[in-house]
């Protein structure tokens, strides 16, 4: 899922300083699962915004709503029901949601309520860790299913770098060296010979270095 975290409140209060009526808009997708921008977090943020405004001696009213998703046009269309009832939207979806609202409703002021950080999973309750960087050219079949793009501090394709100590990364001691883990895994599944192959220089254009990426499926377009 996409991992996000609520922005510091002073940042959010600055964004909405001119708004008197605020639509706090959550998303039932990833950000609900990682407890950043679902229904519960919308309720909390709306309350905190009201308190922040009360403290500043400013009037405020809030609308609290949570869409099924904010990354599909049909769900964004449903915000029209609040037309004229808000001055600004604070979206608690990932950055995709904020962009979608901005794309589809050019006159609306929309602000991000969360920082979108990574693609990851739940490591333990309340902890999420990055697993994939969306590089657009997956090589997990060569690395025992463990991603060096997202999980090696240097995104090495031919690791390890030689700096790891006791299986820990030389850059972040608290993080396992993913190349050590890849090595151990490939040995375990009898694919150690894959380690001898030298990965060629990578073309990173699929990773966003060639501008925004677009995925098109001709079998699905109408």
């Amino acid at each position: 899922m996409i991992i996000a975290e609520r922005k510091p409140l002073n940042e959010i209060m600055n964004m909405v300083q001119d708004a008197k009526r605020i639509l706090v808009l959550g998303c039932r997708g990833c950000v609900t699962v990682c407890s950043a921008g679902g229904e519960r977090e919308v309720e909390i943020l709306a309350s905190l915004i009201r308190l922040g405004k009360q403290k500043a001696g400013q009037e405020v009213s809030t609308i609290e709503a949570t869409l099924v998703r904010q990354c599909d046009k049909e769900y964004i269309d449903s915000i029209d029901q609040w037309d004229g009832q808000y001055d600004a939207i604070v979206s608690m979806a990932c950055g995709v949601g904020v962009n979608f609202i901005a794309n589809l409703r050019p006159m609306v002021k929309v602000y991000p309520g969360v920082n979108t950080s990574s693609f990851g999973g739940s490591a333990e309750q309340g902890v999420w860790s990055e697993q994939c960087a969306g590089c657009g050219n997956c090589i997990l079949h060569l690395t025992g299913g463990l991603c060096p793009v997202a999980r090696c501090a240097k995104s090495l394709m031919n690791g390890p770098c030689g700096g790891s100590v006791d299986g820990r990364c030389e850059i972040h001691k608290e993080v396992p060296c993913i190349w050590q883990a890849i090595h151990d895994k490939l040995v375990r599944i009898d694919k150690a010979d894959q380690l001898a192959a030298i990965a060629p220089i990578r073309d990173w254009s699929t990773a966003g270095h060639g501008g925004p990426r677009k995925t098109m499926r001709n079998d699905l377009t109408v």
């Binding site: 409140l9 519960r40 308190l51 009360q54 009037e59 809030t62």
Partner: protein, 140 residues
């Protein structure tokens, strides 16, 4: 000018048994401050962050939660969960430029216990010193 704080206390069934046994008059006689309004819950683990924030929105100058000792909660982890939520609100209050001490978590022995009164007195004293809530209350 004297200031009588508005303090909202959220207490689990087990730590607030004294209120049942003694009733409001008995509690006052024990020195329980008038400024504190008690809300009894089955378990503090059931408390939502939004409920505690609402108390501030409704005009509380201070809020506290009283649950079981962290390692001896009747519902295993209820009071630990409540303590985490109180911690999250402390952080949010600080981000809004408000004293985080306006909210507190107390882990109290279960049953009939003088610490229940002591916690209320401590909050009464603390909030009286801090003064009225910087949130004006009432606007929604």
């Amino acid at each position: 000018m004297s200031f009588t704080p508005n303090i909202q206390a959220f207490c689990c069934h087990y730590t607030s048994q004294q209120t049942l046994a003694e009733g409001p008059q008995g509690l006052l006689a024990d020195g329980f401050p008038k400024s504190v309004t008690i809300h009894r819950l089955v378990c503090t683990g059931k408390l939502e962050v939004s409920t505690l924030l609402k108390a501030f929105e409704d005009g509380a100058d201070g809020v506290y939660v009283a649950g079981c000792p962290a390692d001896k909660c009747h519902n295993l982890m209820g009071s630990q969960r409540a303590a985490k939520r109180v911690g999250a609100i402390k952080k949010a209050l600080a981000e809004l430029g408000v004293e985080p001490e306006r909210i507190e978590m107390y882990h109290l022995e279960r049953g009939f216990h003088p610490d229940f009164v002591k916690a209320a007195q401590e909050m009464d004293e603390r909030i009286t010193t801090l003064g009225p809530s910087p949130f004006q209350g009432g606007t929604k």
